[in-house]
Symmetry: C2
Subunit: 735 residues, 2 copies
């Protein structure tokens, strides 16, 4: 196996990209994620360990945050008394001579999730050491993290000082979530820390041990229990130090710190190599089904593995009560909240490769039906209306107001009120999962209720007006246009939703009559209600321009100012940001795939090929891809329309959202939806993976000319299939 296409490399430290790489190189195991901040810390860093489900709503803030847990990374070194820091040589007279870095390289092995860093460092004394850091978050035992440090005396024989610590003094960008009364433990060869969130009352316990040197515990540790060691290296001598950390929360066990202290003892006894072997074996299982091979495009090959890696480390493995936030566990963006991104972007590729992970994510929604019902009820509707932003409670947690703008004002955020298509998105994901897996147990016990009770919501939500059904005050995927009436995306997806609900009921009646009866009774699926659904399906208003033979994003859309988006090229910000909020909402500039998203989800059911092409040529040049969700969906749809050049452009754009930080905000975390999106663009778009009308698995590859081969695995109704599509141009002579 060529390491080249499995390894993300940072050659040389670039201070301007510090937080970008902290995000890219995040490690995780579906239980926690840890940004790639340095062991020794560095000014400007943004270390964060995020543990699934640990939310807290701090006083004075609008909504809960996914909480930055105590930092388990710290290992501080001194070399002949010089603190090791990633300072490059400087003539800054304000800095006393303090040693400097002669070389730096970092890499993340995507196949095993091991982060590796090498630094050549010269101390003020003149001694030179080579430092090799390694860390991983065990996929085998998700409560264990391990670090290894090799120190090599390259020149001289320096005195080395080591401080390995746990840091409890952490915050979310200055917002404190932990009660200041922490338990900090430093005794014998162990340190530990236990902390409790201020509002939600979650407890996190961490414990660490160090091998390879004799350590002394700190006496008075405050929030930073520490193990210290000191030794001298002979010339050319190498020393290996290992630090093990165990992490538990009150969501897992009743005594997190006690459990962590026990677990870290066991881990340390097993040893680094043994833990690593188990960890790698778990990763090998993941990749055995999840890897997608592209030959003929090294850049996209690596990018696809990178996207898959980040989906896999974010997906909860053993927990039905958490889901993947918009920024995974790799950053604080969107406060760790869960959006439709999960169901329509990140989850579907898992259905094919890791169906149990997909199921976990759907179960997260099932367990939050109470919150969705409450939201519907509070808004005067029936059934279940899922929150636009979701956390642990299932309550709506979308902030009502933005952070302050440069002029101090705040902008009202309407998505929590009006972006109601989320309920249908979840229903879509349930249906999709069931279609591909035929996981009837899931469907009958959980999934059906999700589809049906959200259908009940829509039955109560639609408005009979003008001799048809309409839906007012919505936000579709294009969030630039808020509180519009009759979003074609929403209206059409509601039709699909009700059709699917009825189809599901028919299936249940035949195949699971007990569940059928239970659901009909508990959800009140009376004949009157079902007749109403039929009526909505028949008479829902689907905005369409007969003259132009296109779907209309919403009535009035084309009356607004036309802005030729392609002329705004090249740009590093959205056209919205260029035009300003006030003007852009009065233009036809679209944030992201909206009608195009509808075409992605419903395919041929949206209209004839002519209409689909018309829609494409209308909306593609009006879209500024201000959302990271947009390019991959465009790639998917363009590929299906046979517009392979456009499809590749959009695909290329999508795979670089994180890798090249082409939205400039990767420091806030990975774009989970973009990761899932590129996998979908590949599978559904270029490869044409689908089920035909009879539910049979089909592919219809339309590959970029330079892709010589695509190979991937798909679980279809319990069986694993391997597709290996060779491009017909394979044997074309090189021009």
């Amino acid at each position: 196996m060529s390491r080249r296409l499995w390894t993300l490399i940072e050659r040389g430290f670039q201070p301007g990209k510090q937080r970008h790489y902290e995000t890219l190189f995040t490690i995780g195991n579906g239980y926690f994620g840890t940004r790639a901040s340095f062991e020794e810390g560095l000014e400007g860093d943004s270390p964060a360990t995020l543990i699934h489900g640990i939310y807290n709503h701090a006083t004075g803030t609008l909504v809960p945050d996914l909480v930055v847990a105590p930092n388990w990374l710290p290992i501080n070194l001194t070399i002949d008394g010089t603190p090791f820091q990633l300072i490059t040589k400087t003539n800054d007279i304000m800095r006393p001579p303090q040693g400097y870095v002669l070389g730096y390289e970092r890499s993340l092995a995507l196949d095993t999730g091991v982060l590796h860093r090498e630094v050549l460092f010269r101390a003020a004394s003149g001694a030179i050491v080579r430092l090799i850091f390694e860390r991983f978050a065990s996929l085998h035992n998700p409560h264990i993290a391990a670090q290894r440090l090799r120190i090599i005396a390259v020149d001289g024989s320096p005195q080395i000082g080591v401080e390995a610590a746990l840091h409890g003094d952490v915050s979310n960008h200055g917002v404190a979530h932990w009660l200041p009364e922490m338990t900090a433990y430093a005794e014998g060869d162990q340190i530990g820390l236990e902390a409790k969130t201020s509002q939600s009352g979650y407890v996190v316990g961490m414990a660490s041990m160090v091998c390879g040197v004799n350590t002394t515990p700190s006496e008075s540790s405050g929030m930073r229990p520490t193990l210290r060691a000191a030794f001298k290296l002979a010339a050319d001598e190498e020393r290996t130090i290992e630090k093990f950390t165990a992490i538990f929360t009150s969501r897992d066990v009743t005594e997190p710190l006690e459990t962590a202290l026990d677990a870290v003892t066991t881990a340390q006894q097993r040893g680094y190599d043994s833990l690593l072997t188990d960890h790698q074996a778990e990763w090998a299982k993941y990749w055995a089904t999840s890897d997608i091979v592209i030959e003929g495009d090294d850049e996209c090959q690596l990018a696809l593995r990178f996207a898959t890696y980040h989906v896999l480390i974010a997906a909860p493995r053993h927990d039905e009560n958490v889901s993947i936030g918009a920024k995974t566990l790799s950053g604080l963006g969107y406060k760790g909240h869960v959006f439709w991104d999960t169901e329509l972007f990140t989850l579907p590729p898992l259905t094919f490769t890791q169906p149990t992970l997909a199921r976990n994510l759907l179960m997260y929604r099932y367990h939050r039906l109470a919150g969705a019902r409450k939201k519907a009820r509070e808004n005067g509707y029936e059934g279940a209306l899922f929150p636009w932003e979701s956390t642990d409670t299932g309550d709506e947690t979308t902030p009502k107001w933005s952070d302050p703008q440069p002029d101090g004002s705040r902008i009202r955020i309407w998505t929590g009120d009006s972006e109601q298509h989320i309920s249908t998105d979840i229903a879509y994901a349930v249906w999709h999962y069931w279609q591909w897996t035929h996981d009837h147990t899931f469907l009958t016990r959980y999934g059906a209720e999700l589809i049906l009770d959200t259908a009940v919501f829509w039955g109560s939500r639609v408005e009979a007006k003008n001799g048809r059904f309409e839906i007012s005050q919505q936000i579709g995927p294009d969030e630039y246009h808020e509180n519009i009436d009759n979003s074609v995306f929403t209206n059409r997806m509601v039709v699909w939703h009700l059709e699917t609900a009825l189809r599901l009921l028919d299936w249940l009646a035949v195949n699971a009559s007990g569940d059928y009866a239970r659901l009909v009774a508990s959800l009140g699926l009376t004949d009157v209600r079902l007749a109403h659904w039929h009526d909505i399906i028949a008479r829902m208003y689907i905005p369409f321009d007969d003259a132009r033979q296109i779907h209309v994003q919403f009535p009035g859309f084309f009356d607004m100012e036309y802005v030729p988006v392609p002329n705004y090229t090249p740009r590093t910000t959205s056209v919205q940001a260029i035009l300003g909020h006030v003007r852009s909402i009065q233009t036809q500039v679209i944030k992201q795939a909206d009608v195009v998203m509808l075409m992605a989800l419903l395919g041929d059911a949206v209209g004839s090929r002519e209409v689909m092409l018309n829609n494409w040529h209308t909306y593609y040049p009006r879209t500024d891809h201000g959302s990271s969700l947009s390019p991959a969906v465009h790639a998917w749809v363009a590929a299906r329309l046979g517009l392979i050049d456009d499809a590749y452009d959009m695909f290329y754009h999508a795979v670089h959202i994180d890798l090249q930080d082409n939205k400039g905000n990767v420091h806030d975390g990975m774009h989970a939806a973009a990761c899932g999106g590129v996998l979908q663009a590949l599978l559904f778009g270029f490869c044409g993976l689908s089920l035909d009308d009879d539910g049979r698995l089909t592919i219809d590859p339309q590959l970029p000319e330079h892709w010589r081969r695509v190979k991937f695995n798909v679980y279809y109704r319990g069986e694993l299939h391997t597709f290996d599509a060779r491009n017909p141009v394979l044997d074309t002579p090189i021009a």
Copy 2:
């Protein structure tokens, strides 16, 4: 043809890499090269047009420079009065509001040498324009450069101001080479500039015209004759402006400015598209033979094309009196001087693909035999001793002293005195060229004299000592160790040189008896002299360690301090720089392939496979690759030894010397030898291209496992052969 692997792209402007990209994106045509500075200029830029052969030795400097010619790039714009500059948005209160850049992308088409830049710019007025710049240095007519600018009013209808100029106020890092009395011409629709170098008396004439707008000439232009224009763009309007420039020197014509004015008129009449078509057709001819295809490694594929591009734009096409400097025409490093880099790195790949260019380069040396004879004579020797650094005159132009060090001291540079292997390197290149081309005319008229008179030098240079022949006070390829006695590289290459001279004489006697007689007479190739050569061959001291079965770089080498170079990883500077000059010369740290270089050049003739491997394992871990010449040679030799992983590591290192600036000095210009070196590593190393003992063409591919196919062309004795090697692993299933 996929554009992807033919295009070098800069996404977003990175101020810290400004000069790096100026070098990478240099355009040229073998007559002149122009760094990729912006039309509008920018603080920190380093614009330079360098014309082959235009050297000048300014008063107060140690040696001549290749002279920065007047700048033909300037096109300055105002948008509603805001000067267009590549300023990104800033809160710097010292800068008044002045518009800023919303987006930037630049790309170089390697297949056609067209540099393309797109910028989205907002003026202080709020108007937004899209600017698309394009430029090329005509390969069809090397005296012509063309620029095109498209301005699109994206938002608003701005007033545009244009100033197209020639700038004569240029210097080499502050060193003035042009006499201040220039002719600056601005009349009608033309501007022109004529300038003369202060010492050498070369005259350069440039003339420009602008199409697409009505221009007014500047009245008082000083050294900056200018054409001005102004116009208003309607909303969404696009305007195309073209600037044509002609460049002549007194090396070409007697009236450079007059000729340029005529030529630019003709060019402007032909028009941009027509000039571009001719230019592209010329490039297509180059690539038809010069392209090397690698499948399975996109990064190396692009890098190889990039290397080939830079060799091709630097190689003189119509001139036997110039050669390729160490930094090509892309930067001021090494002052444009010519080293052994040309003969042993850049030239050989041209022999296979563009033999007339290779011949031109050899002719440069032939025409400088007088200088080489002078140098030999002045040092008390016979024959021809070529200068270590060469310019137009053929005199030694190596500076005797370095630039001042941080402490103000200067270091004595000995290479001009002691790196005498240059003469053999040239002989090697002549022999290699002849072996592959069988260009007998060249050999008999010019090449033989080069080989023989440098052999005469060595006959007079070797020292009879200790019952053998020795050579003292040399610098081999490893320049860290100066003025050592009995460099194994030098001594062994001298043996090869004398053997070759004798073999050549035998061939001439049979095949070109007239030339034979002429050369024997004119060079004094008496029987006594030839007997002396035989004696040297038989009794030259070749330092060898019988116990270890290795060649010894020079006697005493292994008595010095051993430094484990691989421990100095990662690093961004040489180990020499880390240890300091004083200490490093007393260690076994080697700057570059030395014994390994000998193995590259002489192959199996150096020793048994066992000795070759011993040499490799001895010297590879002692080499810090402080020279950009080193990695490619290591790749070549390692590939031949079957050490494919090492070979690929070194190859990868070599191809990124310029692209990733991993020596941090690309702002001074491309590393010509590294470019040629990677081509040689590919051809001689991985592909095993060679001539067998009977002069038959053979290949013996040993490819990195992930390379699926290598395809290249080779001229062999007048016939073009195409090799298309598919890796045996091609059909291995994907693991």
